[in-house]
C-alpha cells in the first residue's frame, strides 16, 4: 500500500515541480556565484562564500537557503494535502470502503509525507552537488571548526545533513497531517500548516518569547550545520530530533484521534 501511495504522490505533476524547484535553488545559487565571480568572503548566506572554492558547498548553501521558507512551504503543501486532498477528490471514501482501515491509511500517509520530506531535502542536496561539480572545482572540505576532511566524508556529511533537515521537518509535517484531517479543503490545510511554520519562526525571533523558544519546532532548524564541525556537535541535533519526536507523538495521535472517528462526508 505504501508503494502505491508513493507512486500516486510522485506521479503528481505538482510534486514533481516542487522537487524540481527545490533542486533548482542551490543550482541557481551556484550559477549566481559562478556568473558574479564569487561573493566576497563572509558575505551572503553561510557556506555560499565557500562555493567558489569547493562546489560541494552549493548543496549546504542550498539547504541553508531553503530551510527557512521554501522547504517548510513545500512540506506544508504535501502534508496539508495528505487527507484533505483525498477528501476533496472524493477518493477518501473509496479508500476507506476498500477498506484500507483508517489507522492504516493514516500511517501510510504519515510514512509517505516522511519519505517526501527526505526526497525534498535530498533534491536540494543533489541539485547543489551536481551544479557545484559542474561549475566549480571540488576537493577537501573545510569544516566550520577550521579542520579539513576528505571530499567523500564531506559529501557523506552533507547527505547526513539533508537527512537531519528532513527529520527536522517532521514536526511540521505531523502538524500538517493533523490539520489535514480537520477539513475537506486541502488549500486551507496547506495554508494553515504554512501559517504554523511562519508563526513558529516569528516567535523564535522575538526575544520576549525566549522562554518558549526551545519548544518551537523551528528552533533547531539550523542544527544540521553542526554536522560540519569537528568534532561533530550533537547537542542541538539531538535536542532537535527529540523535539520533532515530541511534535510527531502529539500531533500524530491527535490526527489519529480525529481521523479514526470522523464522519467522512466528502
Amino acid at each position: 500500500m505504501l508503494l502505491a501511495e508513493l507512486a500516486t504522490l510522485f506521479r503528481r505533476l505538482r510534486v514533481k515541480v516542487l522537487l524540481g524547484v527545490l533542486a533548482a535553488i542551490p543550482a541557481a545559487l551556484a550559477l549566481a556565484v559562478y556568473l558574479s565571480g564569487g561573493p566576497s568572503s563572509g558575505r551572503g548566506p553561510t557556506f555560499l562564500d565557500q562555493v567558489s572554492h569547493n562546489g560541494m558547498f552549493a548543496a549546504l548553501a542550498g539547504l541553508t537557503v531553503a530551510i527557512p521558507f521554501f522547504l517548510p512551504l513545500v512540506v506544508a503543501v504535501v502534508s496539508g494535502d495528505a487527507i484533505a486532498g483525498e477528501a476533496n477528490l472524493g477518493t477518501l471514501r473509496y479508500l476507506l470502503t476498500r477498506p484500507s482501515g483508517r489507522t492504516r491509511l493514516l500511517a501510510t500517509k504519515a510514512a509517505t509525507v516522511a519519505v517526501f520530506c527526505l526526497a525534498a531535502t535530498v533534491a536540494v542536496a543533489l541539485g547543489g552537488l551536481i551544479a557545484g561539480v559542474i561549475l566549480f572545482p571540488i576537493g577537501k572540505v573545510v569544516t566550520l571548526s577550521g579542520t579539513t576532511i576528505s571530499l567523500l566524508e564531506g559529501i557523506a556529511r552533507t547527505f547526513a545533513a539533508a537527512g537531519i533537515v528532513a527529520a527536522s521537518l517532521l514536526g511540521l509535517a505531523s502538524i500538517g497531517l493533523f490539520v489535514s484531517t480537520l477539513t475537506d479543503a486541502p488549500v486551507g490545510a496547506m495554508a494553515a500548516t504554512a501559517g504554523f511554520a511562519v508563526l513558529s519562526a516569528v516567535l523564535d525571533n522575538v526575544p520576549q518569547t525566549r522562554a518558549i523558544h526551545p519548544w518551537l519546532f523551528t528552533h533547531h532548524w539550523l542544527a544540521f550545520g553542526d554536522l560540519l564541525r569537528s568534532p561533530v556537535r550533537w547537542t542541538d541535533i539531538v535536542a532537535d530530533l527529540r523535539l520533532q519526536l515530541g511534535y510527531i507523538a502529539v500531533f500524530a495521535t491527535m490526527a489519529w484521534a480525529r481521523f479514526s472517528t470522523k464522519d467522512v462526508l466528502a
Binding site: R12, R93, Y94
Partner: protein, 312 residues
C-alpha cells in the same frame, strides 16, 4: 459461516447531524440475492444511509449488519466482499484509469498482487474501458468515470454491490449497459443494492424496493407487495354514477370519486365481484367494472407526495 438470509439488515438506524435526523430509525431488510431498489427523492437520506452502511460515518443510534456480520466492527472482514459506488466516482486525475485501479486495489488489506493485473483487465473489459485504460482520468468524460467506478467495484468477486445512482450522467446506451450489467451480476448470485431516484430504472431491474422520504423508511418489500399495499382501485363505468357511488359507499369503499360516468373507489379488501353483484341488484347499469392495480409510480407518489421539490 452459514449464509445469512439478509445481505443488509438495520434496526433503528439513526443518523443525526445536529438536531436534524438525516436518517430516522430505519429498519432495512435486504434479502440475499435480491436486486434491491432504494428509492427516494433527493435529500431523503439514501446516501447518508449508504455511508453509514459502509462505515464512512458513525450512526447516532441503532445497529446494522452487512452480510450477516455486525458493523462497523467487522468492516475489515466484510467490506472486501462489498463493491461500492458512492455518490459518483472519484479518481486521481493525474493517474491513468489503470493506475487508479492499481492504487485502489493495493489500498485494501487483501491486496493480491499476483492476480491484480488479470482482475483489472477483466474489470476494464466488463465496463468497456479497455481502450482508454492507459489514458489519464483527467481526460475521461463523466460517463467514462462512472464506468471506471463500476470497474473498481468489480475488481473482486463481490457478494454485495452497493450502487448509489449508477446511471447518473450516463447516456441512454450506457444506462442500458449498466442495467444489463446489474442483471448479469445478480444472475451470478450477487445481491445488488441500488439507490435511485428514477422509478423507471428501479421498476425495470429490481425485485425488491424500499422507499425513503425525509429520513424515514416508508415502505419496503417485493415490487408486487408494494403495489398491493398501494391499494387496488375499483373502476366502474355506469349510466348512473351517483347511485353507484351511493351503493359503493354503503358497502364501505373509501375515497370515492365521481367523474361523469366513471366512479373510482379503493377496494380495501372488498372483492370486485361482490361489488358488481350489489350494483346490479340495486339496478345500476354497469357498463364495465374493473380492479385497477397501481403502477409503482402511483405507489411512490402516494408515499412521498407529488412534486419535484427537494424534500429539504
Amino acid at each position: 459461516m452459514t449464509t445469512p438470509a439478509l445481505a443488509i439488515e438495520t434496526s433503528g438506524l439513526t443518523k443525526r447531524f445536529g438536531d436534524m435526523a438525516a436518517v430516522d430509525g430505519i429498519d432495512l431488510a435486504v434479502p440475499v440475492g435480491s436486486v434491491f431498489g432504494f428509492l427516494g427523492p433527493n435529500g431523503s437520506g439514501k446516501t447518508t444511509t449508504i455511508r453509514v452502511l459502509l462505515g464512512l460515518i458513525n450512526a447516532s443510534e441503532g445497529s446494522w449488519q452487512v452480510l450477516g456480520r455486525s458493523m462497523p466492527d467487522a468492516a475489515r472482514d466484510v467490506l472486501p466482499d462489498v463493491g461500492a459506488l458512492i455518490e459518483g466516482p472519484a479518481f486521481y486525475p493525474w493517474l491513468t484509469g489503470r493506475q487508479n485501479l492499481v492504487r485502489f486495489d493495493a489500498a485494501g488489506p487483501d491486496a493480491q498482487r499476483s492476480t491484480r493485473r488479470q482482475r483489472i483487465d477483466d474489470a476494464l473489459a466488463r465496463v468497456g474501458l479497455t481502450a482508454v485504460a492507459n489514458k489519464k482520468v483527467r481526460a475521461y468524460s463523466f460517463g467514462m468515470r462512472q464506468r471506471l467506478g463500476l470497474a473498481m467495484a468489480l475488481l473482486r468477486p463481490r457478494q454485495l454491490l452497493i450502487l448509489d445512482e449508477p446511471t447518473n450522467g450516463m447516456d441512454p446506451q450506457g444506462t442500458r449497459e449498466i442495467r444489463n450489467l446489474t442483471k448479469e451480476l445478480a444472475a451470478e448470485g450477487a445481491t445488488v443494492f441500488l439507490s435511485s431516484h428514477l422509478l423507471s430504472e428501479v421498476e425495470q431491474i429490481c425485485s425488491h424496493v424500499a422507499v425513503m422520504s425525509l429520513g424515514k423508511l416508508l415502505a419496503q418489500g417485493t415490487i408486487a407487495e408494494l403495489q398491493a399495499a398501494g391499494g387496488t382501485k375499483l373502476r366502474v363505468e355506469t349510466d348512473d354514477a351517483a347511485l353507484a357511488a351511493q351503493i359503493l359507499e354503503r358497502l364501505g369503499l373509501a375515497e370515492l370519486t365521481v367523474d361523469g360516468t366513471t366512479v373510482l373507489a379503493r377496494l380495501d379488501g372488498h372483492r370486485p365481484e361482490d361489488c358488481n353483484r350489489e350494483l346490479v341488484m340495486a339496478g345500476v347499469g354497469v357498463r364495465s367494472l374493473s380492479a385497477i392495480h397501481p403502477t409503482l409510480e402511483d405507489t411512490f407518489v402516494a408515499l412521498t407526495g407529488e412534486g419535484f421539490d427537494v424534500a429539504r
